[in-house]
């Protein structure tokens, strides 16, 4: 079709040229009027033909274009397979608009949340530059930082220079690990909890939580408990001492003896309670430091077993040592002994199927799969602890069964103390328990690296 039209075009153009040449020849050679008219007519005809061919060609091309448009479904007569395209395009547009609105909305919500926070927040990019912040952060710096300002787009050091904060940010950005530290030197006379969490695309979010007030309240509380416990202990010592002497030496009537024994029992319980409170106050005091030394895991278990068998609760249970490792752990021997003793006493008291049955308690110490720590465990086969109590038993004075605890003479502080002591040594105390099958309390202690003799 196209080649035909092109040859027609070439042909008519040749005709034009020939006619023109003829005419030129005739005019110059002085031909007659008739010949001149014929040549002129030929030229006009040739030009007309050439124009006709051109026009037809243009038209055929525009038809092709129209067909193309029609096939694509945009034109006036869409073909069936593309017919839904405009509708679908419109639909997509609507969806995109809705999504954009949703994104805008959640962005707005996040901004409101960020602004409403009582904590200062900084967004840091992968190069350690502050990218965004909230009003509270600016306010913190203005109030306590003596007119300092958040400098956006610049290194964190241009806003805050506290080494504790910088180390946390560095760790979160470089190692991609969340960090939580307390800094008393971030701003003058304030204590802050610094949380630095890595962002998925690099960089980190830093949250500064002011704990100055909480810290002061906790400190007062600890000091109060320590002082009161100390004051209570002094008179109790003389009460217990005199009652014991009276029971030993004085001839007493039966009921008088009974009364005195009740006094002794309760005074002893109270004395234990004050003792535990004092210990708790001491372990919660951050200034106190443990003596960490390498000690064999099996030695710790043996020692605990000997002490337990000699103790009053030793009668109530049968203790066994299951699997042990002789690997050295880095620990405060006295503190671990205290924790194991407490766990074994609990297992002995609450680990029996009934109150008269002797409980079976299995101790163990095994290397963790990565070889970096030793996991100690104390397992009983008693009634177990319901899930809702499992986390709360580590709270001070929390009791699963109040009546039973009172009867067994517990103070409700043992596990709180144990958890503190383990955490201070870099471990974590956990419980796993199934009702009717028993409970396993376990904690890990880091393996002492070879050649390490003592750490202050």
């Amino acid at each position: 079709m196209r080649s035909v039209s092109i040859s027609w075009l070439v042909f008519s153009l040749l005709l034009v040229v020939a006619a023109a040449a003829m005419m030129t020849g005739m005019y110059t050679s002085g031909a007659g009027f008739g010949a001149k008219f014929a040549a002129f007519a030929c030229l006009v005809l040739a030009v007309c033909m050439a124009l006709a061919v051109l026009r037809w060609r243009l038209r055929s091309e525009s038809t092709i274009f129209e067909e193309l448009v029609a096939t694509a479904g945009v034109g006036p007569s869409p073909s069936p397979e593309f017919g839904s395209l405009p509708r679908r395009l419109a639909q997509r547009e609507d969806e995109a608009a809705t999504r954009l609105a949703q994104t805008d909305e959640s962005r707005h919500q996040l901004e409101v949340l960020l602004e409403g926070m009582q904590d200062g927040v900084l967004g840091v990019d992968a190069a350690g530059r502050v990218q965004w912040t909230n009003t509270q952060m600016t306010r913190l710096l203005e109030t306590h930082g003596l007119g300092g300002a958040v400098r956006l787009g610049r290194s964190v050091t241009h806003t805050l220079r506290d080494p504790v904060l910088l180390a946390a940010v560095h760790q979160a950005v470089e190692n991609g690990k969340p960090v939580e530290v307390r800094s008393p030197t971030l701003l003058p006379n304030r204590i802050f909890d610094v949380n630095a969490a890595p962002l998925p695309g690099g960089g980190a979010v830093v949250v500064l939580h002011d704990v100055t007030r909480t810290e002061a309240v906790e400190r007062t509380q600890r000091e109060f408990v320590a002082n009161v416990s100390h004051e209570l202990r002094t008179p109790l010592t003389s009460i217990i001492g005199y009652v014991e002497t009276m029971l030993d030496t004085e001839p007493l009537q039966t009921h008088a003896r009974e009364y005195m024994e009740t006094v002794l029992k309760n005074a002893t319980r109270m004395s234990r309670l004050t003792e535990d409170l004092l210990v708790l106050a001491r372990v919660e005091d951050a200034d106190r430091s443990l003596r960490m030394e390498p000690v064999g895991a099996d030695e710790l278990l043996q020692e605990a077993l000997l002490l337990a068998e000699a103790a009053a609760f030793g009668e109530q249970a049968l203790f066994q040592i299951d699997r042990t490792t002789s690997v050295n752990v880095l620990a405060d021997e006295h503190a671990v002994g205290q924790v194991l003793g407490n766990l074994m006493e609990n297992a002995a008291k609450y680990g029996g199927r009934s109150s008269d049955e002797r409980a079976r308690v299995v101790l163990g110490a095994v290397l963790t799969p990565n070889g970096a720590a030793v996991q100690f465990s104390v397992r009983d086969f008693g009634a177990g602890i319901a899930l809702e109590h499992q986390e709360r038993i580590f709270e001070r004075f929390y009791r699963v069964d109040k009546a039973r605890s009172r009867e067994s003479g517990g103070t409700g502080l043992g596990l709180a103390i144990a958890r503190h002591l383990i955490e201070e040594q870099g471990g974590k105390l956990r419980v796993a328990s199934t009702l009717g099958e028993g409970s396993t309390f376990s904690f890990t202690l880091p393996v002492a690296s070879p050649g390490l003799t003592a750490i202050g």
Partner: protein, 221 residues
Amino acid sequence: MRTRFRQSLDELKEKLLIMAGFSEQAIQRSIEAYRTRDESLVELVRRTESAVNRLEREIDAAALDLLATEQPMAVDLRFILSVIRINADLERVGDLAVNIALRAREMNSFADINLPVDIPRMGTLAAAMVRKSLDAFIDGDAALAESVLLLDAEVDQINRAAFRSLSELIKRDPETTPQALNAIMIARNLERVGDHATNIAEDVIFWVRGRDVRHNVSAAA
């Protein structure tokens, strides 16, 4: 080439600010050690001191390297010179913090008596001077640096007043001599922290304006 030089200058500034963070922390902790009689803080201040010393050497080496390899001119030259001087001042601030902490510890072996001097207030003021002078350094803000120069007079005045009242106390009640003497020393150390902050501020003015205002406060103000 020049871009790399700019980057090196930024890195130098970053390092100096990290070091400044340590020095400021040491001052804060030493004042806290005095206020709370907490001896564990004294140890922390001493540990910070070694970090400060290491950073001082690193910054000096980096600054000298830049001077030798880039042969900077005008404002860049003044910037590097200021960094070298501020670096030395910050290291001294770290030393003074150790002095204060050690004095505070010494005071713990004597009775806790009421002394006629507000060390924490003086400490807060001196620390604020350091902070402000560094803020001026961060932003190249000569006007802020000038305000630091004015604060120095206040710290000096508290120091003189402390000296007067504490020496009177010694005369009146010789029993209190150890505590009063230590307090005099701490006040004097804090006054010197203020002096170093003033030096930093003067270096900032030198860097930004190319004008030496040392020993001539009125010309700057």
